[in-house]
């Protein structure tokens, strides 16, 4: 092995992955830990890493309490109904009560937030969204993290957490490799804040060939948040809650500003409104508590994202696709037309490229929409992630074990996609979660909880061997064949990824089967996953770049396996439009008004599943419009 081992010792806080969550953690940690050693490890360059690398045209989570717009509990209620009840409301409330202080700082740092010229408040796109010129959102935020951190290790892909050998279930750092030099990096740290990303590309994407990178969530979102934490034995929650997005076809350009700001709407191929006709039957399945079009029409209460997907999927399957976004009306206004294009250029340039290539001018034709392949993440309209402690003053006993945003592994904290049960955090909420985790991690260290961590050379060397094994596999076996990519001894990372995606699509409810699965399919899929897991031990990487892809694949695999177990465990169809359990098509509040929690035993790889109680915020949270409707006997 020619690669050097580089050890960074005496770290207090290691930020593992620096997207919006990780940068928030690094920034805030400096305030609470003036003399602490704060180190960032990021597999790309923090100026353009994570899901926000390309920029954003909106901040989707801002309360606007200073302008009298919303209180945190309003947001909790919104997230709750959108996720069909399944939210960690303590974490959601906590994020929402701090998120405005994050956004106001972004304003200070130079992020161009559009203002409402009449009221002076931030320009609203929707009730929760404010509009920004966010092309440089990530570099602006990264600057704050760089100012706080002692060291930033760009291009270091973390593969595993280091575990303390003197106290069980306590973290002691992380290891990985530099994706350019190949050097092995060891970070010994008292606390680790996992800011790594959710997972794109685990379900077969609709795009093929060259377009396989045109996924909704970034292709570099390799599920490493889950891969790192699951492998170490952290408990996970709501991993079945994958998300499907209704987006502009092929380019997956965003629709939020179109719906909310430009007031565009959808219709079927024949120009008909289609959504409402699917709702009566759907209401029978999920119950009026979750789908009440009348209440949604007269109040702020949203129709859950998944249920709107369900109407699109049903209409297309009934032969009246494609669904179109009606843009021709709004785009006659030159100002709105410009916003429509800026919206893409600020966050999904590829959609602008596609419309330029296909001569789609939304002023003269209504573009097609489609439902995407599923994604596993925890900050958009879904809440996959680690089972974390909430804040002391909000959380019930079952949700609290000492430090805010700490996972079930001592000293391991989460932010952004890493934290489960906290949908609708988006960029600003993820940064806020990083800040919360950083404060708690500093307290954890100050309380003396990280004393006496012992990481032996044996553990460090074992991981090194494991990390570089794909290069060894390639070296040993590639010369057995004349040339080419077909080898009887190993798969390359792309071949492994294709196999994973096909398996997830067909057995776990991808787009190819109209998001349908059942207990039998899931059981077969799990067996195939187990064999895939064996083959991934033999994966071959021809160079350091392929080694990066190999480890991304292993993280995606661990995330996928967890999705399988969770999907099999929850015997109901909680989110029609995200996925369907054909053997249990109804929502079942009697048995499944709970959060699902899993743990993979790091020694045996065996999964254990449990139900965790679901707590709701009640009290003044009641929506006044909805209360009025109820009083009038509509509910």
């Amino acid at each position: 092995m020619t690669y050097k081992t580089i050890i960074e010792d005496n770290i207090d806080i290691l930020v593992a992955g620096a997207g919006l969550g990780g940068t928030g953690a690094a920034f805030e940690a400096r305030y609470w830990g003036k003399n602490k050693k704060i180190v960032i490890a990021e597999k790309a360059n923090i100026d353009r890493s994570g899901a926000v690398a390309q920029g954003l045209y909106a901040i989707n989570c801002y309360m606007g309490t200073r302008f009298g717009e919303n209180n945190p509990e309003d947001h909790v209620r919104y997230a709750r109904i959108d996720l069909m009840g399944m939210v960690r409301e303590d974490l959601a409330f906590d994020m929402a009560r701090h998120v405005d202080s994050t956004v106001h700082q972004f304003d200070d740092w130079g992020l161009p937030i559009m203002k409402n010229s009449k009221t002076g408040s931030y320009l609203r796109e929707g009730r929760w969204q404010i509009m920004i010129h966010g092309e440089s959102y990530k570099p602006i935020v990264a600057e704050a993290a760089k100012k706080s951190a002692d060291k930033v290790f760009n291009r270091v892909c973390l593969t595993h957490l280091l575990m303390d050998e003197s106290k069980e279930n306590r973290v002691g750092g992380a290891v990985g490799f530099n994706v350019r030099t190949g050097n092995y990096h060891v970070f010994k740290s008292k606390a680790v804040i996992c800011g790594a990303g959710g997972a794109s590309n685990i379900f077969k994407p609709r795009s093929v060939g060259e377009g396989a990178g045109r996924v909704w969530y970034a292709p570099w979102s390799s599920g490493s948040a889950y891969g790192l934490m699951i492998e170490a034995g952290a408990k996970m929650t709501q991993m079945e809650n994958r998300i499907v997005l209704a987006r502009f076809k092929d380019g997956y350009g965003p629709v939020g500003a179109y719906f909310l700001h430009l007031k565009t709407y959808t219709q079927n191929a024949y120009g008909e409104e289609y959504e409402s006709k699917w709702f009566p039957e759907l209401q029978q399945r999920v119950g009026k508590e979750y789908l009440d079009p009348e209440a949604s029409h007269t109040t702020h209460r949203p129709i859950p994202t998944c249920l709107r997907n369900h109407a699109i999927i049903s209409e297309v399957n009934a032969g009246r696709g494609p669904i179109h976004m009606v843009t021709m009306e709004a785009f006659q206004d030159p100002h709105l037309e410009e916003i429509g294009w800026h919206n893409f250029l600020g966050m999904t340039v590829g959609q602008a490229v596609l419309w330029a290539a296909t001569d789609v001018d939304p002023k003269h034709e209504n573009p097609e929409l489609t439902t995407s392949e599923p994604y596993v993440m925890g900050s958009h309209a879904t809440g996959c992630g680690a089972w974390c402690s909430g804040p002391e003053d909000v959380s019930p006993d079952e949700y609290f074990w000492g430090y805010n945003r700490m996972t079930t592994i001592e000293g391991l904290f989460g932010a952004g996609d890493a934290v489960g049960g906290t949908p609708h955090a988006f960029s600003s909420g993820s940064f806020t979660e990083g800040r919360l985790a950083a404060k708690a991690a500093c307290k954890y260290i100050d309380d003396g909880k990280a004393e006496g961590i012992n990481i032996t050379d044996a553990q460090i060397n074992r991981r090194k061997e494991e990390i570089f094994r794909p290069l060894e596999n390639y070296k040993i076996y590639s010369n057995e064949v004349v040339a080419g990519t077909v080898n009887p001894n190993f798969h390359n990372p792309r071949q492994g990824l294709d196999r994973l995606q096909k398996l997830m699509d067909e057995y776990c409810g991808g787009f190819g089967v109209s998001y349908m699965t059942n207990d039998k399919l899931l059981s077969i899929g799990l067996k195939k996953m187990s064999v895939l897991g064996e083959d991934l031990e033999k994966i071959g990487a021809k160079d350091v770049h392929e080694l990066l892809r190999a480890w991304e694949l292993k993280h995606r695999y661990l995330a996928s396996e967890s999705v399988f177990h969770h999907t099999l465990f929850r015997k109901e169809t909680r989110w029609p439009g995200y996925y369907y359990r054909g053997d249990a098509m109804k929502l079942d509040d009697e048995n499944w008004h709970v959060l699902t929690v899993s743990r993979r035993d790091p020694k045996t790889g065996e999964y254990t599943m449990e139900k965790a109680p679901l707590y709701h915020l009640v009290g003044d949270i009641e929506d006044k419009d909805l209360a009025k409707l109820k009083a009038e006997g509509h509910h």
């Binding site: 309490t65 706080s148 377009g211 340039v349």
Partner: protein, 160 residues
């Protein structure tokens, strides 16, 4: 739309290699210029296009669904604090220039020096407050929202 690099414009400076979030812009060892080594892991994020000092990098829409003959070009200028786009349709009927700000401040300014801030008190440490709070929550002197202040309870069960 994977990126590609024009042979005559690239001087192999490596800015694109340094910034690419997907680690797919690499230098060809023979030609000593950059190229996209893995187009099917390209998100068309334009990070490399924006970073290139010679406008040597462009994008050609994904072969599986985008016809040839379009153009989306960009110049990002940190000093001016702007980004300028030009979109040209395949049929030549649309040719748009769009300009947007990327920052409201001179680049790299406006950040607090957290290490120089006064040491937070024990009371602050034991509270739920983060840096700059409570002031930055509402830009006034009000406190942080709590269950008590907002008249809330957290209860197990089904409530709608």
């Amino acid at each position: 739309m994977p990126t590609f690099v024009y042979m005559t414009r690239c001087d192999g400076c490596g800015h694109c290699v340094d910034i690419c979030p997907s680690d797919i812009m690499h230098i060809d060892k023979t030609l000593r210029r950059a190229y996209n080594i893995e187009p099917n892991m390209c998100w068309e994020c334009y990070s490399c296009v924006k970073a290139c000092p010679h406008q040597a990098i462009d994008v050609r829409g994904y072969a599986d669904f985008a016809p040839l003959g379009h153009s989306v070009r960009v110049i990002r200028d940190e000093e001016k604090g702007t980004i300028a786009w030009r979109i040209k349709f395949r049929n030549g009927k649309k040719d748009m220039d769009l300009l947007a700000p990327i920052t409201t401040k001179p680049w790299g300014t406006g950040y607090p020096e957290l290490a120089q801030e006064p040491e937070p008190s024990t009371e602050m440490r034991d509270s739920q407050l983060l840096y700059s709070e409570p002031k930055y929550v509402r830009m006034d002197e009000g406190g942080l929202h709590t269950l008590e202040s907002n008249g809330l309870e957290i209860k197990e069960g089904v409530y709608y």
